[in-house]
């Protein structure tokens, strides 16, 4: 089942299946390694619930819920 990254709960893991959006935002996400097949772990959310911090390809990346919504993942149990 595909779940959007912004719907993940802290500690949940998934494999990227789709990356949406366009132009600059999409390119940035692809450049940062959010591509199909990459593992993502939702590490934490900022004090006000947004942005979020994920672990991807061995490093920490922060992005907003608006951007996370563009990433579809398959949850790893």
């Amino acid at each position: 089942m595909i779940k959007k990254l912004n719907e993940f709960i802290i500690g949940e893991k998934g494999i990227v299946k789709t990356v949406g959006g366009d132009g600059r935002i999409r390119r940035r996400m692809l450049d940062m390694g959010i591509t199909p097949g990459a593992d993502i772990l939702l590490k934490k959310k900022a004090p006000l619930g947004d942005p979020i911090e994920i672990s991807i390809r061995g490093y920490s990346l922060t992005l907003r819920n608006a951007e996370a919504e563009l990433v579809g993942l398959e949850v790893i149990k």
Partner: protein, 780 residues
């Protein structure tokens, strides 16, 4: 000479390597995007000298941020003889993603595998030889920080520059390789340099490339119909990025050997996807050192309070005369009352003073003594009175008044640098992004703003990391409101003088208050701009959070040394010249006759000062002041050259204006309180004076920087207007509030209404027209 360019991801250690190679002292920080412009230096330890160019850190050669464009332009157009691609070993996959793009260019490349020591400390290892064999480029393990492997690295560079290298690509197995090949042939026919690189960018329909070779776009479009990727469809940009990462994961990542422990844990957890475990870096729930710190510092409830506490702590250590409020505890108060002791005034004064205040006090004692010695020396050789006056009041008064604040400025700068170096600043951007977005900015804008507390110039340059132009302009304009080091003497001297003259307690709170006023002004201005002239969505916030690390003493020392040099240089050039000019202008009349101290009112400066004085009447330091009231107007104007001039102007004039003042004391505070006594300015007028200086046009150097950073001349002119208008309005408000509370309440209510209406109009378009049309209907 051979030209070598350093290319790599942000925060991968390029500038550290650059400093190690060239012996320069460029600023290094633990924040992605510290270097936003190229810097040049020379490596002299090899056989022949090599020219080294430090480029801004980039994740990709796509054309979306100014830094990426700078780096890309340099590599393609300026054609370095060799590229050192610095790769952060702790972050192999993402760093090699850039490598796969750089290798498509026809240039010799050496890969510098940095921070291998950090990888080994975590128990993992990297096989540089295996990586070299797979990637087909020389790989050298280095530690830029410890200076290891640099000689070998530069040796390999000297070898490869002798050879020619054709670009190669990892996209050979991609479904797009035929298209890339066709475009490549077409470009070669047009005799385009680096045809492979351009071909791939064109296939991605890269903005810059499409503009350059619009005739070949049809070729790419025709291909779109024949390929239909299951995930990306006809989006070739996506296909290319994906193919690169796939290739890296499949081929290079095996050079990274995970620590045994983690593999075992994974087995115990009965991980089934073994392929993933081998080729990819660990993605596990084990907390790293950084994660543990982050559990506290970016904690849901504690994150924001901790940030505010740290900010308060920094200012408290720099400005407090009663550190930790120890003076409030009776037992300690008795002990540190200090009356009569040798420590009174410098170390203790009813409370223990903070390091910043102690350093300022000591420096004040030193500059005072030097002033005294100069007087004694000059009198010993029986110099004429005007020589003593010029040298002691004019020259040393001006310089000393500024120098006594240098330790405090450096301390403030050091504390902020430590925060930046640890990696905490990136977390603050993470915490504050949600709040900043309300004002129309991204969390990234926080960094240039906080840099503004040190100096506006690097802060303005740093706004380049903001991808959106309008957001960038708005941020750049409010940076001077984050009171810089040069404005610190104004704050400290005037609030100190207010405390002495009007017998008010809590100098430090006047100072904090003024910092807050600056920040509040910035906030309101940003909201206004983002809702009117600089309207737009805040740019996306996709940022790497670097690992925490211990601040490096060496880089901090270098940074402080640079800063110290800067202030001393300024004191002995701009401030020295301004002080002499001011002294001369106060001691000569228009007919060029020398005036003794008592006749200052007929001096050139007094005349000029009186002309501009009425301008500042609404602000409380204009015509309403008594005799010599023009000094505040003059100080404000000299401050436009360099903000230190404000206090040095007071220092030069104090001896002239106030007959009882011996001129030997040069700690700034004394001079200002002499001025207050002589002119009869009110507290409200003084506060307005600080506010004016803090929010007006910054120094010459910062204005020049703003001009360079704002490519549009119109935007620059408006920026000047904005600074003048803001300072005039805000300072007037402060004066009026202080002097006449009531009329002002109405004024403020009006201002809030206007701001509110503008914001609402932005949220719900046509809010103002709707109301206006309703009013018209009623009138009918």
């Amino acid at each position: 000479m051979i030209n070598v360019a350093l290319v790599g991801n942000p925060n991968s250690g390029k500038t550290t390597l650059f400093n190690a190679l060239t012996g320069s002292t460029a600023h290094v920080g633990n924040w992605p995007g510290v270097t936003v412009d190229k810097k040049e230096g020379t490596y002299k330890k090899g056989k022949d000298p090599i020219n080294v160019m430090d480029l801004p850190g980039i994740y990709s050669l796509s054309p979306y941020t100014p830094e990426e464009v700078i780096a890309r332009k340099y590599i393609i157009d300026d054609k370095p003889d060799c590229i050192i691609n610095i790769v952060d070993a702790t972050n192999l996959e993402r760093n090699l993603y850039l490598t796969t793009q750089v290798m498509e260019i026809n240039v010799p490349i050496v890969i510098a595998l940095n921070m291998v020591d950090a990888v080994e400390r975590s128990g993992a290892s990297i096989d540089a030889e295996q990586l070299e064999a797979k990637i087909g480029l020389p790989v050298v393990s280095i530690s830029a920080l410890k200076g290891r492997g640099l000689h070998e690295l530069m040796g390999r560079v000297a070898e490869v520059v002798e050879t020619k290298r054709e670009g190669s690509t990892v996209l050979a197995h991609s479904e797009l390789i035929h298209l890339i090949g066709d475009v490549n042939i077409a470009l070669k026919a047009k005799e385009v340099d680096n045809s492979l690189f351009h071909a791939i960018k064109l296939v991605e329909l890269d903005e810059l490339e499409v503009k350059e070779h619009s005739d070949l776009v049809g070729l790419v479009d025709a291909y779109k119909g024949t390929i239909n990727d299951e995930v990306f469809g006809g989006d070739f940009e996506g296909v290319v990025a994906d193919s690169r990462y796939r290739y890296i994961t499949a081929n290079y990542s095996s050079a990274y050997k995970q620590p045994k422990l983690i593999t075992k844990v994974k087995k115990n957890n009965k991980k089934t996807d073994d392929t993933q475990t081998i080729v990819s870096q660990p993605l596990n729930n084990n907390l790293t050192f950084s994660d543990k710190i982050d559990r506290v510092l970016t904690n849901r409830w504690l994150g924001i309070p901790i940030f505010l506490l740290i900010l308060f702590g920094i200012f408290h250590i720099t400005f407090s005369e009663n550190i930790l409020f120890l003076g409030g505890i009776p037992a300690i108060r008795d002990y540190v009352s200090g009356a009569g002791s040798a420590f009174e005034g410098v170390f203790i004064n009813g409370g223990v003073m903070s390091i910043g205040v102690i350093m300022q006090g000591l420096m004040g004692v030193l500059t005072d003594s030097i002033g005294g010695w100069i007087t004694l020396g000059l009198e010993a050789v029986s110099s004429p009175e005007w020589v003593v006056g010029l040298l002691v009041d004019g020259v040393w008064g001006g310089i000393g008044g500024v120098l006594s604040f240098v330790p405090q400025i450096l301390l403030l700068f050091l504390l902020f640098s430590i925060l930046e170096d640890t990696g905490y600043m990136a977390r603050v951007a993470f915490i504050l992004d949600r709040i900043f977005r309300r004002f129309g900015l991204s969390g990234r804008a926080f960094m240039p703003m906080i840099m503004g507390f040190g100096c506006s110039i690097p802060a303005m340059i740093n706004t380049r990391t903001l991808a959106d132009d309008k957001e960038r302009i708005a941020t750049l304009r409010v940076i001077p409101f984050f009171s810089c080091g040069a404005k610190l003497p104004i704050l400290t001297a005037i609030s100190g003088a207010i405390a002495i003259t009007f017998n008010l307690p809590g100098t430090e709170f006047i100072t904090y208050g003024m910092y807050l006023v600056g920040m509040a002004t910035a906030l309101v201005s940003v909201i206004l701009m983002r809702n009117t002239t600089q309207k737009g969505e805040s740019s996306p916030f996709i940022m790497e959070l670097p690992n925490y690390h211990c601040p490096k003493a060496m880089s901090l020392v270098l940074l402080l040394w640079d800063k110290l040099k800067h202030y001393i240089q300024k004191a002995f050039t701009i401030i020295l010249a301004s002080s002499i000019i001011i002294w001369l202008m106060t001691h000569f009349s228009w007919s060029w006759t020398f005036l003794p101290d008592g006749e200052i009112d007929s001096s050139i400066l007094a005349n000029l000062g009186m002309i501009i004085q009425p301008l500042f009447t609404p602000l409380g330091f204009g015509s309403q002041l008594g005799a010599n009231g023009w000094v505040f107007a003059v100080a404000a104007i000299t401050g436009l050259i360099a903000k230190e001039n404000v206090i040095s102007t007071f220092a030069v004039l104090a001896a002239v204006v106030s007959s009882g003042f011996d001129g030997a004391s040069v700690d700034g505070i004394q001079e200002v309180s002499q001025m207050i006594g002589a002119t009869g300015i009110t507290v409200a007028g003084l506060i307005a004076f600080i506010v004016f200086n803090m929010t007006t046009i910054p120094c010459f150097a910062a204005v020049a920087t703003a001009k360079a950073e704002l490519s549009d001349k119109k935007q620059f002119n408006w920026t000047l207007v904005f600074w003048m208008a803001t300072s005039y309005i805000v300072a007037t408000m402060f004066y009026l509030v202080g002097e006449f509370i009531w009329p002002v309440a109405i004024f403020i209510a009006l201002a809030i209404l206007i701001v509110g209406a503008l914001v609402l109009n932005n949220k719900a378009p046509n809010f103002i027209p709707n109301i206006l049309s309703k009013l018209k209907i009623r009138r009918k």
